[in-house]
């Protein structure tokens, strides 16, 4: 008989996960560090619905009438902007956090569908460069592995100020994942718990960032688009400042965005939901005359389906980025490793100990035997399938809304199911013309 059948009542305040957290802190004296993103329920894309065409709007025929998905990123200043075939890109994830096989699979998958993949906190590996048709090179506070040769090999440069899982925090990689190769790339002793800086070492504030971006452009002869990535917090102001500093593309990562290793308290309590961040970013770009014309917006944090892609774009994103979903496509949390997840004290569908280096799926590990379980070719193919499904799903919705390009989706195509989502997304509550916070 389970607890509920016996008449036991779980505390909403002190639920079992909370009790386990207190017990873990008391027993170990260490806060919980884990991977994944925010697990709490948040207002999200699920709280939005599309208004398909009927009488007042004219739909497009599925499978017959064109609905384009390509996107150009970084044409504002760069000599060579990116031209992607799908607006679904792969977010920054490091070699170190991920196995070499996983990075290769991401590059293979992204390349085959004509989208970009991104390095992470730890530098660019030759394998990653070779397997990625379009590679975005992250420029992070730690500058691990940063060098001008790789900078010139990149197709775009992403200056990272923060990420949604931990806006205001630096990276972490625990000792069990610092193999000799990872340590060498980061110029650190093997086996130590590695903490990345949270602030850039040679600039502070938007005025300095403008000069930093100028330097990066000078070093790379103004060839490459420069992105600025922020974790979603004061998004309206951050986007305005990023544009003023010279960004070609702004990446906004909501609090559902994943991480390989961060304090649980940080993941769950810092930042704002993706849904709340997009309209702020779009407002900033509109006021600067850049939306859909000059600076592109990439949104990440909790993108799972083509519906999420379409909703993010309808709210004003030019493209999206996926991280957690891409890892799941590669094979993360696969039920075939159920017994091994259980042995690690977790379960398939729950596994978030990416910091631990013992991933049975061979993705978030540096262990040679575990890594070898992931076939980069087959995993890359799964990612190809998934990216194509996302793209086709977004097209399905766009056609239903009468759009010949997914970028033509607009807020007027959306309604919200909850007052919270209506207020955050700035679209009307379904069946009403009420947008909370806006004068009628």
């Amino acid at each position: 008989m389970d607890a509920a059948q016996r008449g036991l009542r779980e505390s909403a305040t002190f639920d079992r996960a909370t009790i386990a957290g207190i017990q873990h802190a008391a027993a170990s004296g260490v806060y919980d560090i884990r991977g994944w993103g925010a697990k709490r329920a948040l207002p999200h894309f699920d709280d939005l619905l599309f208004l398909g065409a009927s009488m007042s709007r004219y739909p497009l025929e599925g499978y017959r009438e064109r609905c384009d998905t390509d996107v150009v990123l970084g044409a504002r200043h760069a000599k060579y902007p990116l031209h992607l075939e799908t607006p679904v890109t792969i977010a920054g994830m490091s070699f170190g956090a991920l196995s070499g096989q996983a990075k290769e699979a991401l590059g293979r998958g992204a390349g085959e569908v004509g989208t970009s993949t991104t390095t992470g906190d730890g530098g660019m590996t030759p394998e990653e460069r070779d397997q990625s048709k379009t590679l975005v090179y992250q420029y992070l506070p730690s500058r691990y592995g940063m060098n001008p040769t790789d900078l010139r090999k990149a197709d775009a440069i992403e200056v990272v100020l923060g990420q949604g899982a931990k806006p205001g925090g630096g990276g972490m990689l625990l000792g069990q994942k610092i193999s000799d190769r990872v340590a060498g790339m980061r110029t650190l002793p093997a086996g130590i718990d590695q903490r990345s800086a949270c602030r850039h070492p040679d600039w502070t504030g938007p005025d300095d960032l403008a000069i930093k971006i100028l330097e990066l452009r000078e070093i790379t002869d103004w060839e490459k688009p420069i992105y600025v990535k922020v974790g979603a917090t004061r998004t309206y102001y951050d986007v305005k400042l990023a544009v003023a500093a010279g960004a070609d593309v702004v990446v906004v990562d909501g609090m559902q965005g994943g991480t390989a290793a961060t304090q649980d308290v940080f993941i769950e309590h810092v930042g704002i939901p993706t849904l709340a961040a997009i309209p702020q970013a779009v407002q900033a770009l509109r006021e600067l005359g850049q939306h859909r014309h000059g600076v592109q917006l990439i949104v990440s944090g909790g993108i799972r389906t083509g519906a999420d892609v379409a909703k993010a774009m309808a709210l004003g994103a030019d493209a999206v980025a996926i991280g957690t979903a891409a890892l799941i496509a590669l094979g993360d949390n696969d039920p075939r490793y159920a017994a091994e997840y259980e042995a690690l004290g977790s379960a398939a569908g729950y596994y978030d100990d990416f910091q631990d280096g013992r991933d049975p799926a061979g993705i978030t590990t540096q262990d040679p035997e575990l890594s070898a379980r992931l076939d980069p070719v087959r995993a890359g193919k799964r990612l190809v399938n998934y990216l194509r499904v996302l793209t086709m799903e977004a097209q399905t919705i766009a056609r239903a809304c009468g759009k010949s390009h997914v970028q033509h989706l607009e807020p007027e195509d959306l309604v919200a199911l909850t007052i919270e989502a209506a207020a955050m997304a700035r679209v009307p509550l379904a069946g009403t013309d009420w947008i909370p916070g806006r004068e009628r």
């Binding site: 060098n147 001008p148 130590i192 000069i211 330097e215």
Partner: protein
């Protein structure tokens, strides 16, 4: 060659006057050089002067440079005859950068290799996150210098400000004068013969003749290499 002035044939000094030539023209030439020796006049605090050099050319900058002078230098021999702004020689890979005057914040930040010599003093965060570079400062350095310094060597012939070597990894620091305070996990270490020998080499490379015996050595106690709540008071 209309946009800038070139004196004579390859092998001679090629001169850019930033009073009229844009920095873009200078850097484009330095990235695909037609000569080996360059002179830059009237930098007037321009940013990113001589950034991104990737081979062994020589550049003399006559005057004060702005932010990120010789940024990401990889093999160039760059001398700034004046002061340098924030982030001089940031992320240098190899080569030599000399500043005859003072340097602003974050001199040599994250640099992986090469030699940075500052004749005068350097401001805060000198050598922050250094990853293998050698830095020799003729004067003093400001607070939080060698913060999270990972590898390489820093020599300070004057004094060091507060928080020297905070959260330092494997870099070695030599200071001749006083240290305001040491940062978290940074400790004084004994000077042995091998340290005096490498210090003598670094001083010689910077054309300084101080007695290595007059310096103290600092480095990591390696107590913060693993996360534990027992060290929470250290941060």
């Amino acid at each position: 060659m209309d946009a800038f002035m070139k004196d004579g044939l390859a092998g001679d000094t090629i001169t850019f006057d930033l009073a009229s030539d844009p920095v873009r023209a200078l850097n484009a030439e330095l990235h695909d050089p037609s000569g080996k020796v360059y002179e830059v006049l009237h930098p007037a605090g321009a940013h990113a002067v001589a950034a991104g050099i990737d081979r062994g050319i020589t550049v003399d900058v006559r005057g004060h440079a702005g932010y990120y002078a010789a940024g990401m230098n990889d093999g160039g021999i760059v001398t700034i005859h004046g002061n340098a702004g924030t982030g001089v020689a940031e992320n240098m890979m190899s080569g030599t950068v000399r500043v005859t005057g003072d340097a602003s914040q974050s001199a040599g930040a994250t640099a992986h290799g090469g030699l940075l010599v500052i004749g005068g003093s350097a401001s805060m965060r000198c050598g922050i996150s250094m990853k293998g570079v050698d830095i020799v400062v003729g004067g003093s350095v400001g607070s939080m210098s060698a913060f999270m310094a990972q590898a390489g060597r820093m020599v300070v012939c004057g004094d060091a400000g507060d928080g020297l070597g905070d959260s330092i990894y494997e870099a070695r620091l030599y200071v001749r004068g006083t240290v305001g305070t040491l940062g978290a996990d940074c400790v004084e270490k004994p000077m042995r013969d091998e340290h005096r020998a490498e210090l003598a080499e670094l001083l010689a490379a910077a054309d300084l003749d101080h007695d290595p015996g007059g310096f103290r050595r600092y480095g990591s106690a390696r107590r913060l290499y693993h996360f534990t709540s027992e060290h929470s008071g250290s941060y």
